[in-house]
Structures are given as structure tokens and as C-alpha cells.
Amino acid sequence: MSSTLPDPRPNADSIAYWESAKQGRLVLRACAECSHKHFPPRRLCPVCWSESLHWTDATGLGTVHTFTIMRRAPVPEFAAQVPYVVALIDLAEGPRMMANIVGEDAHAVRIGERVSVCFEQRGDWAVPQFRRISD
């Protein structure tokens, strides 16, 4: 996808996530008290409310929980991308995240398929995306 697409907008909760993505790493928030890993990143653990959190690297592997092929763009920035795939990915570590399925065979994606993370440049930043794993 092209650089006219929306850039990430880091804030105090997420700056480390986006800095990591820029370096090609997908990171999650992990709780020191209950070991729950969460996404998107927060100030406290949404399970036990502990404020003892650290960042941990995800494997970048996941499965497709569901997806759609977008035939109409919600905002002009995505108009040139239509049709494109938006999916919910269940990461191997547990959390679920939204991403595009990218790559030439993206439209052949199916529920339950394994995917792996890749990174797409957006201005000075990068966003995590996923590709189908052909095994």
C-alpha cells in the first residue's frame, strides 16, 4: 500500500509499539502480576489492573479469525487500494488485532489460515501487516 495512507499516530500509551514496528518488531504489553498479554497497549493490565507491565516480542504468527474484502473505501485515502482485505488476526500469544492481509494472493485468504507479520512503510513509520503462509 502507498505512503498516502494514514500514518500511525503514536501517543504515550503506544509510542514504544510504533517505535518497535519501525524496527520490524511486533510487541505486546505483558503483565508482571498475572502474565496476561494484551493489545492494544494500555497503562494497566485490563485483567488484574496491575500497573507492572513490560513489553514483550510477539512471534508474529497468527491465524485469520475473520476477514472482509472492502469494495468501497471509508475515506478517500483508501480509494486507490480497493479491493483490499481487512482481517482480524488471532496472534499466537492470544491477543487479537486488525490488519490488512497483503501480498499477491491476499484475496484467496480463508478463515483459520495461518499468517505471519510483515511491516509496511507509512511515512516515517511502519504498520504491522500480515501475509498468508504457504505451507
Partner: protein
């Protein structure tokens, strides 16, 4: 304290509906309010409470007091609530609680927007995408509201075998009902094939799987039961209300096949002291065709996975086992912000009053309304009835 029998609906009003560039959002609200007040046989001075929602086309910071000012009201109770599409049912709960606690005696519950003419279609789609999608973790991937519901539909089809044709039947049935309503936005009958071959929006949804964008407002007048004797129509009683809020953004939903509808419904049934078998007519939120299929199941009207068959078999039609969205719903009657769900409440009251001609559900004495907001994020169920319970 239960809200059962705490308040009665004595007035209902719909604004004009459609593409109405000669009216503002506030003007639509005023028209609906005036009609509800006339329907109740009351005067503006009788109103001592106002509850409204929000407006995306006219985004006043304090919409409730803006509306009061516009209407020349100086009430002792005023609230502006935001729970997306679930707001109207939540508004009824707040109005009833204000009445039960003595904060107000007669409350105007009103909401609506000029969604069709107050912004372009592109602006409408963009505004919703940025309002409901996570601004940092979903927006960069270009989902739309239809896209989010399409992902729910696809997962539901995968887990339960719900079919495209069953979803299309929801659109066809509600259009048929809208054709019987004098104030509905869409009045041309459609067939299954029309839905399946309509412009694709986000697979598997086409344009006819998606709700309308209308200029519209709806209003209710709620009052203390002991003040309802002068009402022009028989008062409709609040039996029960229940809410459940499980997430905001789709990527954080606990499940894509089990939502908060069940919990909201159970709380409403519990307060009303009834079961799904007691419901004669249901007005279910139908922003997209998959939604009233899921709601039928979670509210106990069909076993899990059998909601699509329920529609396919004609059980949701007027004359069927449980008529659903007898006004045409948001797919065919009107959808304008929070007003979408409001029209379901208005229709429930109208059905309980009776006398709707070919649209009337024979003998309707207990009605259910379900509103949901976000992406099945906030849920609110109402149970209403004809007699004190």
C-alpha cells in the same frame, strides 16, 4: 429498585423522513417533539425533563441544553447520552429513572439528525468510520462500519452456516413491512436477487444489506403512570430494561459470535418477569442484515445458528410467529444516527396501541425492542406492554 411500571409512554412522534435539505437536525427534533406532544395531548409547559442523544451533523457540545433552548424549555432534568445506536433504549431507561426518583414527571425523549442532507454520503461513511473504528489501531487499516459488520457476518456464516440468502431475506422482509408504513423512507419492494446482486460494499455485504442514511427524528413522551389518565391513546407501560456493554472496537470484542445481547435481554426479561415466549412483536436493531439474525438467537427467539432459518421461513413477517421490524427497520423505514433505534421503540408503542391496519400484529400486548451501538458493543433491551404488569 426496579423500573417495572415506573413510567408510561403517552406520546410518540416521527418527523418527516427522507432527504430533507430544507430542515436542520434541530428542526427535525422539534418536529418530532411537537408531534409526540400533540399525540400525548400535552402542552410544552407539561415537560419538565428532556433526554436526547448526540448529533454528528450538528455536533453541539451540550446537545441536550441546546435542544431545550431551541424548544423554549427550562426543565429540571436534562441529559445527553452517547451509546451509539443503543442510545434510544438507554434514553428510555434514564427517563424512567428520572421519573421514578422524582426528578421529573414528564420527560421528552427525542433524537434525530439530518444525516442524508447535512453531509455528503462520503462524509457520512467517513465520519462513521473514524467515530467507530479504533483511531490508532484500526483506522490505519481502512475498515468501514459495513466492513466491521461484514467480518461479523463472515465469522457467523463460518461457525453456524448462516447463508447469504437468509441475510437477504431480512432485507426483503423489512422492505415488505416498510411498504405498509405511511412514513417509511423506502417503499419499493425488493427480492432476494436484488439484494445478492446489489453493489458490493464489503464482502459478503451488498448495499441492500446496509441500513439507510436518512434525515429523520423520533420522539417519545414518558410520564408518571398516575398522570396518564388524560392521554389521548392508551398508555404503554415499561416492563423491563437491561443493558450490556462488552467492548467498543471490533478487534477487542470478546467474541464475534456471542455478544452482549443475551445479557441485556436477560436483564430486561428479568425485570419484566416474563420470558421470550410472552413477546408478541419485536423491533430489533438492523443496521446490517446479519444483526437481527444474531439478535433473534441471543434474545431466545431461535436456537443458536437458527436465526437465519427463522427469517427464511417467514416467521418474522407480519402474520408470522414473531413479527420483527414491522415498520421496516433501519434497512427500509429510516436511519439517522440514534433515531434509527428510536423508530423501533415508536413502532413497538404503536403496535401495542393497535389499529395499524394491514401492519397491525393481531393481539399484540407485549413488545420487545433491542438497540445496539458501535459494533454490537453497547446493547439495550426494552420490554413494553399494554397493561400495568
Amino acid at each position: 429498585m426496579s423500573l417495572r411500571n415506573s413510567a408510561v409512554v403517552v406520546g410518540i412522534g416521527e418527523s418527516d423522513i427522507g432527504h430533507l435539505p430544507h430542515m436542520t437536525g434541530l428542526g427535525l427534533n422539534a418536529q418530532a417533539a411537537r408531534r409526540a406532544l400533540d399525540d400525548a395531548g400535552l402542552r410544552p409547559d407539561d415537560i419538565d425533563g428532556l433526554v436526547t442523544a448526540y448529533s454528528m451533523t450538528e455536533p453541539y457540545f451540550m446537545l441536550g441544553t441546546v435542544l431545550c433552548e431551541y424548544l423554549g424549555l427550562q426543565p429540571g432534568y436534562c441529559a445527553s447520552l452517547v451509546a451509539g445506536g443503543a442510545t434510544p433504549a438507554v434514553m428510555v431507561g434514564h427517563a424512567a429513572a428520572a421519573i421514578a426518583s422524582g426528578q421529573a414527571n414528564t420527560v421528552l425523549v427525542v433524537t434525530g439528525e439530518n444525516r442524508a442532507s447535512g453531509q455528503t454520503r462520503d462524509q457520512a461513511v467517513a465520519a462513521l468510520a473514524t467515530a467507530v473504528g479504533h483511531p490508532y489501531f484500526e483506522y490505519p487499516y481502512g475498515p468501514s462500519i459495513p466492513g466491521c459488520y461484514a467480518m461479523i457476518a463472515r465469522r457467523y456464516m463460518h461457525e453456524y452456516g448462516t447463508t447469504r440468502e437468509q441475510m437477504a431475506r431480512v432485507a426483503v422482509t423489512t422492505r415488505m413491512h416498510a411498504c405498509l408504513h405511511p412514513n417509511s423512507h423506502m417503499k419499493t419492494p425488493i427480492e432476494i436477487g436484488d439484494v445478492l446482486t446489489a453493489k458490493p460494499i464489503a464482502d459478503p455485504l451488498t448495499l441492500l444489506d446496509c441500513c439507510l442514511i436518512s434525515d429523520a427524528a423520533g420522539a417519545l413522551i414518558l410520564t408518571r403512570p398516575d398522570r396518564a389518565s388524560g392521554a389521548r391513546s392508551a398508555p404503554v407501560w415499561l416492563y423491563g430494561i437491561g443493558e450490556a456493554h462488552t467492548h467498543e472496537h471490533l478487534s477487542s470484542a470478546p467474541s464475534l459470535t456471542e455478544f452482549g445481547v443475551t445479557r441485556a435481554g436477560a436483564a430486561a426479561y428479568g425485570m419484566a418477569g416474563i420470558t421470550p415466549r410472552d413477546i408478541d412483536v419485536a423491533q430489533l436493531y438492523d443496521c446490517f442484515t446479519i444483526v437481527p439474525i444474531i439478535e433473534l438467537e441471543e434474545l431466545g427467539f431461535a436456537p443458536r445458528g437458527a436465526g437465519g432459518e427463522f427469517w427464511e421461513a417467514g416467521h418474522a413477517q407480519i402474520g408470522g410467529k414473531l413479527p420483527v421490524n414491522t415498520h421496516g427497520g433501519m434497512l427500509s423505514h429510516a436511519h439517522a444516527g440514534a433515531a434509527g433505534g428510536m423508530f423501533g421503540i415508536i413502532e413497538a408503542v404503536a403496535q401495542l396501541r393497535g389499529g395499524l391496519g394491514p401492519r397491525q400484529v393481531e393481539g399484540a400486548s407485549t413488545a420487545l425492542v433491542h438497540n445496539e451501538g458501535g459494533v454490537l458493543s453497547s446493547n439495550c433491551t426494552l420490554v413494553l406492554g399494554r397493561e400495568r404488569r
